[in-house]
């Protein structure tokens, strides 16, 4: 009796070690690779927008497609901090020995996408100017295999946590034009 119990435990243990352990290890690597792809793509996407001053629907779609190719779904959050020099100008006029303060206001993903897509199906461009800031952060929204396995075994990751994430941002370095 005791022997057969041991046998069952041994089989289960063997199955876990022989099957689940490599699976976990491989799915972890797979996430790493996805992470790498996403990070590279995000940096490239953001740097391209920063240096050209233009964000087009084509660029965005290409970026989306590139990260989707990792087999996961992602939540892309973009933010444009639009530089408003006008208040600074007023300050400088009032006291010319003082450098004016700049004000930024933000546009977020939904507003940016609204600007990019138009009703007639033509793609549009969001033109930024020198001094604006653009940043993008990407997180996976599905539960990857590695997350599922980890959740199954030691439930460290909740449902809304992510393992693949990348963010990049910076100053826009050139005035973009909308046409």
């Amino acid at each position: 009796m005791g022997d057969s119990l041991m046998t069952i435990i041994a089989i289960v243990l063997a199955a876990v070690l022989m099957f689940v352990f490599p699976l976990m290890s491989m799915s972890d690597r797979s996430d790493d690779i996805s992470q790498l792809t996403v990070k590279t793509a995000t940096t490239e996407f953001v740097d391209n927008v920063r240096t050209t001053g233009r964000l087009s629907m084509d660029d965005y779609a290409a970026f989306e497609q590139e990260i989707a190719a990792t087999g996961n779904t992602y939540d892309i959050e973009m933010e444009v901090k639009v530089l408003d020099e006008n208040p600074g100008k007023k300050t400088t006029q009032a006291s010319s020995t003082k450098i004016g303060e700049n004000v930024y206001y933000s546009m977020y993903t939904s507003q940016i996408l609204d600007t990019l897509s138009s009703d007639d199906g033509t793609t549009k461009v969001l033109a930024l100017k020198e001094g604006d800031m653009f940043s993008t952060s990407v997180k996976n929204t599905n539960t990857t295999l590695s997350q599922q396995l980890k959740n199954f075994f030691y439930t460290v990751a909740g449902n809304d946590t992510y393992t693949i994430a990348a963010e990049h941002g910076g100053y826009v370095t050139a005035n973009g034009s909308g046409n």
């Binding site: 243990l13 070690l17 790493d32 100008k89 910076g170 005035n175 973009g176 046409n179």
Partner: protein, 743 residues
Amino acid sequence: MMKYQYLAVVFVIIMLPISLVFSAYVGAQLDTLDLQISYDTKLDNATYDAIKAFQLNTINSSTSDIVNSKIRDIEAAANSFFTSIATNFNMAGYNSDNLKEYVPALVFTLYDGFYIYSPFENTLDEETKNHLPPDATYTGADGEEVTGLKPYIYYSCRYVKGQMDVTITYSLDNYITVQGTDRNGKGINDAGYLLDDVTYNDVTGEVRYRGVNITSEPQLREYIGNTEYAYVKINGVKYYRENDNTNTWFTITNGRKSTVTNPFRNEPNDMGYRYYVEAYEFKQRLQSYGITNLKSSDAVGVEDITNADGEVIYSFVDSDYNIFDFDGIEEPDSNFNNHRMAVIRYVIESNLTVALANYNNFGTGTYEFRMPKLAEEDWARILDNVCLISFLQGVSIGGKIYNGYSVINNNKNEEVVTEDSIYIVENVNDDNSEYHRVTHKGLENMVNETSSRGVFNIDLERKSVGSTNSETTLYFYPHWNLGCYTCYVAQTNTENSFNNIYEYLDGLSNKTLTKLYYTALGRERYSMYKTFRNPSEFVAQYREVPKIDKKILLFGIPSHRGNDLTQLRDELLEKYTTVDMITSAQGEVSQDIVDQVMGIADNYDLVICDAYVWPAAQIANQSTLNYNLITISNDATTVDNQLIESSITTSNVYANQIMTQPGLLQNITINPSDDGDGGTLVKAKFKDDVTVLATTTYNDGDADVYDAIGYKNIGGYKQIHSQLVLKNNYVEIIKLLADFALQ
């Protein structure tokens, strides 16, 4: 039987190291790529810092486009690059000197050429050393490795066709410089802007560009601190008028105000107008040289342009077309622009490859430096505007050696005026009005010709000037207008369904905006510093000509037979110090007035008499003349015994046709304009020693040619008489005669 658990343990013992090694390997790769990305970003940031430094320095110095100060600004930018990159890399244990070894070149692409900042071997042999002045501070040794700017390389290309052998230097816009020999083997050295569709009427002076009439603009004004000054920008330098009542001008050099000794003319700004006139004339000249027939295959010493995958994207020979096909030449997709960009790209690529390969002679490491293939989008940026290309190679990043580059361009600088550099201020007289991008939706109905104006984008940037009495720095905006929220701050309300700006502007039904924009674009381009011009001669054109110290007395009946004495006086006053006028109404010329004129006439250098015939006769026939005299009268019988040989008096005829007008008056239209108002007309023949300036016939069937205008030197003075009443070009003709008399 081996137990299951043993089997599993064996399996794990085998798998665990594999898994560990694999995981470590992937981890290392990830780290490497992470590091690569972070290096890319650091390089981008340092490059941006450098180009920003260049931008700030050029915006704040009006002399920064002149070669030696440009070198200073670029060296400052290179220093910011190394400082910035050292700051960014400090965490990784590199300092600026270490990093210099990994930066084979910085390339500053400018308006008509580029600089490469890279190390080179200093050459200072004994021979040269002996020629250095004794107080020379230069300390470099022969053979020493120095990092600095290499000579400027122009975007030029040589073309050979028949006898024609020219080198054309391109720029970031439609400006070219042509040097060499033309189709007849004659030397050429010329430069100008290429524009299609400019018409110019050299008689009326009317210029049309793309159907829009381009005229002078009102004088430009901008703020320094809190004071608004009228200014004119000539050859890259702005000259401000101290205030509206005096004619003293100043400029800002090295951040300080400095007075200009020779004042400028205070007049409307015609830079935009001149831009189009010169472009028109340049086109004619290019046609006469035969340059307009050049084809891309005539280019010598260039090779096809290939992209990173080795595909040919521009072939000089296969895509054989007319480079200077003027049809839409300024539009982005014209033959000219494609060719221009191919030449610029070829020149940069070939020179840079050599510079990077040469770097191997200097580097201490084992890494072989080579030119990376730049991506197409990077080339697009390089060809678009002033740009800094930086290279960072040979840094170890774990698994591999980093080999990266960064391209940052800048479109707010003094170097080039692109189509995007012009903003439209709605009302220049109102500091609260906004400035807009040209593509702002509906802008064409918001502007008007008198108060709206096109402005160069760097004039909307903050500038600084040192105050004269203290060490403080004043910051100011040359224009106080605010940026429009829907087209400048954020471009949410702009028109963008067109291929290029020209197409958009031509399509507008209201042409006011089109005119404002083209005028401003022309003005700003024409005001740029150009190496081709002789700077002092060019600036001298705009200087105020000092008034000539001569006194003129104008005596006559205003509006008598179409004369315009008031305008004549005003125009003479622009050139001569004193012009006094004595007038008498029609029919009221009295002996008293004539006596008064004759009494004071000796005080003047020139007396102009356009009253009736008898006063003219009295003045002209005095025994001695102590002044130059111009008389205008259609009745010569008694006018002038000195000049008139014989005359025939007739009634109700009038001068019919001008037969000759040699010398002085040859370029002006003199109409035979006496329409015979019932008075007595006199046909005259001048004496033999009178130089005749115009002859005429009369309308009474007499085929003889009579003298009309002539002069004679009497006792050191010129006595000039016009037998014709001048109804056309009165002011111009009398001015010419006056200048001639007072020479």
